[in-house]
Amino acid sequence: MPAWLPPPAVLAHLGLILVVFNMLVLSAAFMVWMERKVCAYIQDRNGPNRVGFEGVLQPFADVIKLLFKEELRPKAADALLFAIAPVISAAAAFAAFAVIPFGTSTTLWGLLDQPIPLQVTDVNVAVLVIFAITSMGIYGIVLAGWSSNSKYSLLGGLRSSAQMISYELSYGLALAAVIMLAGSLSLREIVLNQAGTWWGFIPRWYVFLQPIGFLIFMTAGVAETNRAPFDFPEAEQELVAGYHTEYSSMSFAMFFLAEYVNMVTVSAVATSLFLGGWLGPFLPDWLAWVWFLVKVFLILFFYVWMRWTLPRYRYDQLMEFGWKYLLPVAVLNLLATAALILWIG
């Protein structure tokens, strides 16, 4: 190797970052395709089937089309914030995935002397990092809504941020119960704590210890990612397209990308916290990430399935549900978990 190259561990890490980034973009593209296909089959249609095999290349065709569209900006918009808002959204969506572990460690078939973990960075406050970055993502939406200087955008932005802030509480309380069980804030340790089985056949996943927590997490996750049946920010009958009404071309694509990457991230967090991350039977250690992908895919499929099955709630129902039912249940769940941990020891 030439001397000017950084050490192989650093190169491997950079490669890992590149792989994770591209996997996220690709999974977002795949999600767009899957959503349209599943929706089509649910509605007894064929869905996209022209570009590539069964339309798998449709998302790429869409992106190319968006690239060639004109970038429009309302005259009264706040130029700087209007330009920054989609970037904040997309950056926050991608950054949150950095702390999620998706496999054991690898030496790349002996190329490296030290194995590197399959995770961009293992910080000891990983759960809080995800939480903090999600809360930063809200700015993208709020600022997009405000800077467009349009009533639909503003209302959409306000709604979506109010929704995200309300549901973030329940989301955090559901996470806190798992953190107490695991006794750690590092996602890698939380996953490793779920290794093994009860009576030889039930995996020790936290979903079995925290069924209520899992339900709260999934519900709040849907609201956090602004998906149906909680997709009020873009309730098209009332708000045209919500906070991204005035966006076009690639800045619109960035919001779109952020939305799908957020879904992938929420599913990955749910997988790590409740479904044992990359742990699973049959596969050797170096293929463990396949289990991770399978679990994330199943949760994503569930989200898509739900979107095309359930009608949208009313906005006041959503707020009432979040504050009057979900939050108290989350608090009780947390108290019960704490009491049980103290009792059993």
Binding site: V123, A132, S135, I138, S147, I165, L185
Partner: protein, 172 residues
């Protein structure tokens, strides 16, 4: 070397954003600069090895409280002209007094800490945190040594919460 470059760059950014917060004409821009300011402060915490504090800074201040500021600012839509301020001279006089008080406080802290370098805090900071992680240390400190301030702060928040409900609800 690298650390001090990073520190002074961050410090410059923090001061720069701070100045922008008070000078920007548009109130929403002020709030955005405030967020940037908080994020830079969080980076300083990371440099000091206090990850937990850094994340809480982002989560609570930059992510939670300032979003509410932004809500208020966006909803009231402040369109104040440059000459609408009541009396600029009186404002600047108050500002000077406040700045002088702050300066006195900071220099008092500097003098005090220079006189007694080896305080309990410095000794606590010197103990290795890596073994337990600083989340646990912060938690232990909050619930043992600083229990009373912690409880007083939570009482204060409860009072504020009840007050807000009382203001918002016409009849209870």
């Amino acid at each position: 070397m690298f650390e001090s470059i990073l520190f002074y760059t961050l410090a410059a950014f923090i001061l720069g954003f701070g100045v922008l917060v008070v000078t920007a004409r548009n109130t929403v821009h002020c709030v955005v600069f405030l967020v940037a300011n908080f994020l830079c402060v969080a980076m300083i915490y990371v440099m000091l090895g206090a990850e937990f504090l850094a994340i809480i800074q982002v989560l609570v201040y930059a992510g939670g409280i300032v979003v509410l500021y932004l809500f208020v600012v966006m909803l009231v839509n402040l369109k104040r002209g440059p000459d609408a301020a009541p009396d600029r001279r009186r404002q600047s006089r108050v500002g000077f007094v406040l700045a002088a008080v702050m300066l006195a406080e900071i220099s008092a802290i500097l003098v005090y800490s220079a006189a007694r370098p080896a305080s309990a805090v410095a000794a606590a900071a010197a103990t290795p945190l890596q073994t337990v992680g600083n989340t646990e240390v912060v938690g232990m400190l909050l619930y043992t040594d600083y229990l009373i301030p912690f409880e007083v702060a939570s009482m204060l928040l409860l009072v504020a919460m009840i007050g807000a409900i009382l203001l918002a609800k016409k009849e209870i």
